[in-house]
């Protein structure tokens, strides 16, 4: 037998190969195990969420109550929108610290535009565009100048907060006939007895649409898979010929634009009042929600719906603290930090087992 000339020739015929069924099955099982492992933090968050809600219902009552639920959902609508954007950014292996400040800038700028007579709908569109522009600058810095994501978005956070303060340091209020206020209209879905109504607002509906859109984008579209690929291994994604550069810039544009959208929903909710101090610490809430929901901070793994579970965990925490009069509200950030830490440690334990 002559020496093989090509690689293909050197491969023995299939019949000579050892029975391959066994290892394949092992692979399938370990793959399943691996996938279920990435679900563990999300499932833990769900268990925690229901545990907290049931505890709150038993201890304080009126939790599984249409009025409570709908007011909670409506007040967390902006956080839900931010969390969807943050999920996409974090799955790509980045971080966006600028969202809170971008909310402040876009809401102050948008309301000021409405006040000088710009059409309300156009002003709202511009708010989203402004948000997207901040994201565009971060994205370009990160992709084309190799700036670390958290430094680039930290700079954007400074810039947005500072520009908001240059525009106005006092609250500005949208004109009374501004269409932005329509977004806070109460729609009664279920007319319960007394105050037990299930009401939603157009703002909440926008948040739900963003969640559905985010899920479709991340789990069903080609670009969404590119985002996962970038987070998993950027160099592999490049070698596969995926549009890494374009996608990464778009990720930050989307995150910024969603911050602009969150600003619209929030501004509507507070009756058209915008301030330069709005949104301090919102980026932390969004990051906490994403992490609690099971998305790995190193990127590559995560679910949009998980982050929504994360937002609900934060909401339930706040609900318990406000319902229980004895917990000092000063403890809120400590408790949020502790919950976040537990979930980060859980992730760390799971990823360490997988890599070793």
């Amino acid at each position: 037998m002559s020496a093989p000339r090509t690689l293909a020739e050197s491969v023995p015929p299939a019949a000579d190969l050892p029975e391959s069924r066994q290892p394949q099955q092992v692979n399938r099982f370990s793959g399943l195990w691996e996938r279920s492992q990435t679900l563990i933090p999300t499932l833990a968050a769900l268990v925690l969420l229901f545990g907290m809600l049931i505890y709150a219902e038993i201890a304080y009552g009126r939790v599984f109550h249409a009025g409570t639920m709908s007011s909670l959902l409506v007040s967390f609508a902006p956080t839900i929108i931010l969390a969807v954007g943050m999920t996409i950014v974090i799955i790509s292996g980045g971080i966006d610290l600028s969202v809170g400040a971008v909310v402040a800038f876009t809401s102050v700028a948008g309301v000021m535009l409405m006040n000088i007579g710009v059409n309300g709908w156009l002003a709202m569109l511009l708010m989203i565009v402004f948000g997207g522009l901040f994201g565009l600058i971060s994205g370009v810095m990160i992709q084309y100048f190799n700036v670390q994501p958290f430094i680039a978005t930290l700079a954007m956070m400074f810039l947005a907060r500072g520009l908001a303060s240059i525009l106005s340091t006092t609250p500005v209020i949208a004109p009374e006939d501004s269409p932005i206020l329509l977004l806070a209209t109460d729609w009664k879905i279920i007319d319960g007895p007394k105050v037990n109504d299930f009401t939603i607002t157009p703002g909440l509906l926008i948040a739900v649409l963003v969640v559905i859109g985010g899920m479709f984008f991340m789990h069903r579209s080609r670009s969404g898979r590119t985002v996962y690929a970038i987070g998993g291994s950027e160099s592999s994604a490049k070698l596969m010929g995926l549009p890494v550069a374009r996608t990464r810039v778009w990720i930050y544009v989307v995150s910024g634009a969603l911050a602009g959208l969150a600003a619209i929903v929030y501004t509507a909710e507070v009756g058209g009042k915008a301030q330069n101090v709005t949104g301090i610490g919102w980026e932390l809430d969004a990051i906490a929600a994403v992490v609690i929901g099971g998305t790995l901070l190193t990127g590559g793994y995560g679910y949009v719906l998980g982050s929504i579970v994360g937002v609900f965990v934060l909401a339930a925490l706040r609900l318990i603290i406000t319902k229980d009069g004895t917990i000092n509200p000063e403890y809120l950030t400590i408790i949020t930090g502790a919950v976040l830490l537990v979930f980060v440690l859980l992730q760390r334990a799971l990823t360490r087992r997988r890599t070793s």
């Binding site: 190799n146 670390q148 994501p149 810039l159 000063e330 930090g337």
Partner: protein, 363 residues
Amino acid sequence: MSRVKTAFRTPWFWALVGIAVLLLINTIKNPAYLALSVNPTTGMLTGNVLDILRVSAPIIMIALGMTFVIATEGIDLSVGSMMAVGGAVAMQTLSTINDPNSVSAMLTAIGLALALAIVLGAINGLLVAVVGLQPFISTLIMMMAARGIARVITDGQNTNATNEPFRQLANGQILGLPTSFVIAIAIVVIIAFFMRRTALGLMIESIGINPHASRLAGIRPRPILFGVYILSAALAAVGGLFSVSEVMTVSVSGTGNLMELDAILAVVIGGTSLAGGKFSILGSTIGALLIATLNKTVLFLGIPAAATPAFKALVIIALVLLQSERVRSLVFGRKKSGGTPAAPVKPAADPSVPVSKEKEVVA
């Protein structure tokens, strides 16, 4: 000639130029800006320059701690909250003891503030060095938690206290210079001595440059990382003491708010690369002075203080762009190395990984 060229390349040279330009702008607006005068009632020197030195003291402290953290390829986002913790402990202690002239009350307050900060810094160090979490997420959690702890300590109040020796920290003078500035410089000199006269500084740099190689060379990264986060927290608490002693009130949401960004900015201006490795203590100190000058200039020009972040952001953006390979090769005509986007990116230059994956191998 060659000496001039070296000076141009030193990053903090440009920081000095920046300070000079800002002072010049102020002097053009008011020719008497740089003048010093003696306050007839207290007999102390007063002047805008001394004000700048006084407000720079806390920034120098947090920038010094941040320098070492960044040199190990980490980041400490909790320094601002740590300042609030230090200030809150001190103010709460002083208002409980309520002895306006007691030096021992001041020492107790300082001691307790440092002790709590060291405990919190140790938690940061534990999470980064032992558990192996990314530094920015561990310190982000601490940033939330420490602000809450400051609130719990003062029960959500903006506690104020009277204690003359403590007030002298920021408002007194030594040889015409603000006491807090003199103490800050003394701490800088002592720490610089330890870092440069022992191998400690070298070890920190080697961990930042290549944690894997430095471990193979026999340097144990854990105790060093641990120590670096404790040092950063302790220095931040000292910064918090300086900043509350100026007004003798701690504002639980205002003290140290966004100061972590000042610290990062000072370090980057001073020429320490955010990618870890070599650090410059002198550079960070000058960077802190530049930020203090910028803060005061913005106020002096009548722009609202809340707008200063925008100016700082522009400085940060300019600096990080100057640090990037792409701009360097464009502006300075250097040979492209690794910055080309088409080539598979090295882990260290990979922007999607804030902290090099090598760190996980070590931890």
